[in-house]
Symmetry: D3
Subunit: 244 residues, 6 copies
């Protein structure tokens, strides 16, 4: 089974971050069954990171192009490697194979495992993209709090230990002060920290959900069950005049 | 006051439709105070009509470009001439002046005037874009039903009398069978029919809300009150590497 | 166009307050287009301020009388000059022309401009009239917090600078501590402070919505669009024996 | 224990209706414990029936007067004999003793006994007072349907057998077509029919809730438990200038 | 009238606790009309206290047995003496007579008397049984906060004065810090403290609802009105092979 | 990986049904990766089928016993083979390994793949167990309709072709009349029909979700990701006196 991981951002030009990323992928691969092959792809046209609707708009045309091409090439599912699920609706319209967004998969899993969850958001308050995302999925009643790291997506890679420390601190505050029963990592750029955050909150028995691995697992599940997005919810766009 | 009307679609190449459109605009201009100047603009890159998320993606880059340019040129507000409000979030992030979506304005007005409303949707069932739009605005508790015209956006211009007849029939069914207290036209392409639909349901005292005129009026109101979108809800996108 | 502003309270006998009020109306008139004429009217029978359901009951009969008379006299719309929207439902039943409540207009505008809002309430906690009002409009999901000024409606006019200071402090707390994205003034008696509160939170790009100007603008919009309350939501009361 | 039943309408001048009413009260008294004494009171100033907000406004001042007087006279609780609960909020503000609305009591009881309920509404569709009432109580998720009798409140007394027949027909439709699990009578004027409607749907095991008897029983319960409305939800109106 | 109180726990073997309990029942009996006879029954098979779903499972078979037997013996209603309402659904399926859960009755009463309520929970945070219970009743919009006593059910009987002090402290915090308008005792084991907690918050005019007395009163009300659970919501279990 | 499938019912004594069941399991096994081993277990004490809360109560003690034993024996996850998720909460409290309910897994998957879903319920209307289940998961906004087969769980195995025909008919009605975008099979006893129902609605592109395979896949996913139920949502039951 081939799962196509579409990164909705430009290729990283910073060597340290790229190295951190390779490391995180290695960890990730341990949770993947041996018959699943992951194929990663960055954008040629898009933004460096996705932190606004505008950033999504910049990359959306290239995302469509690469996903359509991948389907033609025979991949079995597409995973959008971003908590914000950019282009999820349009790709589901265009493709026959299942398309899974990282944020969507993580938030549904968290809803299934716990009475409520808090999200670690890389950005500063009072950003409300996370609230909008959770609301669009119809899961607002499960959202306990958003804990802001105030680092920005790029800042997640600055200093590993300091960043990790901040994440664990906020995860513990979510549990102890906000009453969170599960922690959702609000950016797939946090995947290198997932295991250690999980250890940090282990005394509470609180699951920590990393969105990229959640989405890959969910895509695998869908392929195996022969399931995909509803064509009635995501109708095939009709033929018409379009100028790119 | 200058209000910039951004059509999120390609210029119409069909002469009959273009003529109908000019006619509808004439009607529209009667509801505009004399000190308000409307400036219309079509897309150079985009789709012929917006009926899918994919159609939105195709036009979004050009929408951004034209709206940013209009703001530099000194317009006072931007209205998105489409019930689906494409690019509303991103334009609100990028611009300082108020940005109003046609669907959004119509749905809020309807909510204020009536206990509930039904939407006339140009597409066939079971399309759920309208449901998603209403839900994203937090107004699902006000939505009584979606009545489908099964014409498509382009089909709205085929035969005026037949189309009008269909719209009045569905509006009356919304009132009589579904219990709707207000009718929202679910496409700005219906504006040529608005007055006649309104007459058709007049015996019930049911308001019929046409989204483009609603949005222009709302934009005018905001400019006069010195109000605009919250910068906290729509933060300015930060500077970063972006490749178009 | 003539807009009738119905004050649901007795004429103010305190000269200082009356003078403040005239000053506030001057500011207000700047946001009104030149073809709109405002006509204010106080009650002869009613309460000094509206701070309870009982206060509403005391004035409701006179409100009806004056509004019906104004319609006969040819005004184009009625605005209820109180955040609590007293008698809104009954006046909408009785009149053909549009009736707009100040609180209603402000809360819908805030909902359109921001992900959420907080309300500055003149009264002390834990008063929940504001919560009931927001809930009745179906906008509870947008309400971030109610910030209490603990002054009472009459107290709003005691000491301008001290009161202003308190309002700005609470507005900033709403933004910084509660995460509010917009501020709604919870009493039309605050309109003299609106501009200065707006300046106070300007660094955050947070809109401040003053209910009376919002309602007047909304009434103007409705008249221009030829829209009014749904007769199905507000049916004409039938003839029957009534003893006043 | 003395329970004061406040009828928010003028005394009935039609002898047949008055006689029907006496009959209904006899039936009612069978469900009352022997130590509870009921005291009925009509309005001197008000409307013949309550079918609009305007009708409520007409009677509200006299309701306040009579309820305040009754409390001074030593009654233990006040019941508002109308499904619409007119003046409920204001009376709860003004009185120390418990105040119970007939509609409120019936809808809470129905919510406790069944997964959902339908309401028999005396008026024609698409009246939405019942929807507003249920929504204000926060019970919309329990409302299955409103079944309209199209008789008006006065019409309930025209022809007993025909009216009863209509009621049973609509109650059965609510169960069989709408899936209702309980039936709430949407007007206290239906109390003479309550037992027979109950028999009509008995094969389904569906409870039929009559609002006046529900409210009297609830008031009795509150008095016995020493409970009453929260003073924080219904604060005592402050002293101020009021002109009646 | 005979009301059967089913305690879903084993008979208490601690003499001090049993004595406290007898004392509390004496207080309780003062709120019961003279024609109502209470019959208490403990379990032979079950848990010492109900603080988990597992505890409910342990006792559920014996609860069914004793309730069915009581109905055969002619009691008029069954009250489940536990805030968690264990076995409520199953007993309602099996019995013809009304079955009332203590938590359910208390939460509905609180909803009727106040805009919102807080619950005193005997357990430590972040237990969410109370949240689940309130949500299952569809009353989440009324729940202001859960205040945790951190004592456990058994701990409620350790030191009367210290426990009472803690309860009053948390009740006052619910009012003063959380904005609660009513207090619901989240365990029928608190009934010995109910009156004194009520006195403690009296200055605020806040009702304190004790679940066992609420449920007994509600059961009495249902019997008198001839009402019971809907058979459609709680269908009679069909005959089939069952092995105990 | 070992997944323990707990059937909350007595072993089937009907040979035809048992044979159908073996056939269905064969189909099921095709969707399972080769390193996953399924272990099925029936109850010794319980009901023949689970169609009421009472049926759940009868089997719950044996379910606990068998699940605890399986965990000791080293299985990696427990799946409850029933759409109603009996004992889900208690097993999650007691076990360290993940516990997944069939209905829960199916409903979350459907929510992720489509805007809404309908459920095929084996029972007759107006049964509302499905509504309660969906509501308890917080997914009511996704439920379009419940379509009743009126067969009962046992009846599902009577005549394969007739039953299949009925299921496809109701699934098509859900799509065509109710506007469903996905179909959820409301009983794990329908798994032998899943593929053919799926083919029946294929022209619409509507996913059909079979709960047992969904739950097994979800359990596998959780084990691979190292995730399980939150201990804070499902706290370990404390030691106490319990009599079985």
């Amino acid at each position: 089974m081939r799962v196509f991981i579409l990164n909705p951002v430009l290729r990283d030009v910073d060597e340290r971050r790229a190295s951190q990323r390779r490391q995180a992928l290695l960890e990730l691969s341990k949770t993947i069954p041996s018959d699943v092959k992951l194929e990663f792809r960055d954008l040629d046209r898009g933004a460096e990171t996705v932190e606004s609707y505008y950033d999504e708009y910049v990359g959306v045309a290239d995302m469509v192009e690469k996903a359509v091409e991948a389907e033609k090439d025979g991949v079995d599912a597409v995973v959008i490697n971003c908590f914000m699920n950019p282009a999820l609706e349009g790709l589901r319209e265009l493709l026959e194979i299942p398309v899974v967004g990282a944020g969507e998969a993580a938030l549904y899993l968290a809803s299934m495992l716990a009475d409520n969850f808090s999200v670690l958001d890389p950005d500063p308050p009072p950003r409300s993209y996370t609230h909008k995302l959770v609301s669009a999925l119809g899961l607002t009643h499960k959202l306990r709090s958003v804990r802001y790291l105030r680092l920005g997506v790029a800042g997640l890679c600055e200093d590993f230990d300091e960043t990790l420390n901040k994440m664990i601190t906020e995860a513990l505050k979510a549990v102890e002060e906000d009453g969170a029963h599960a922690i959702v990592l609000g950016c797939t750029g946090m995947r290198g920290y997932a295991m250690k955050i999980s250890e940090g909150v282990k005394p509470y028995g609180v699951p920590v959900i990393e969105p990229l691995s959640a989405a890959i697992a969910m895509a695998t599940l869908l392929v195996r069950l022969g399931l995909g997005q509803s064509r009635l919810s995501y109708p095939k766009p009709s033929e018409k005049r379009r100028v790119a």
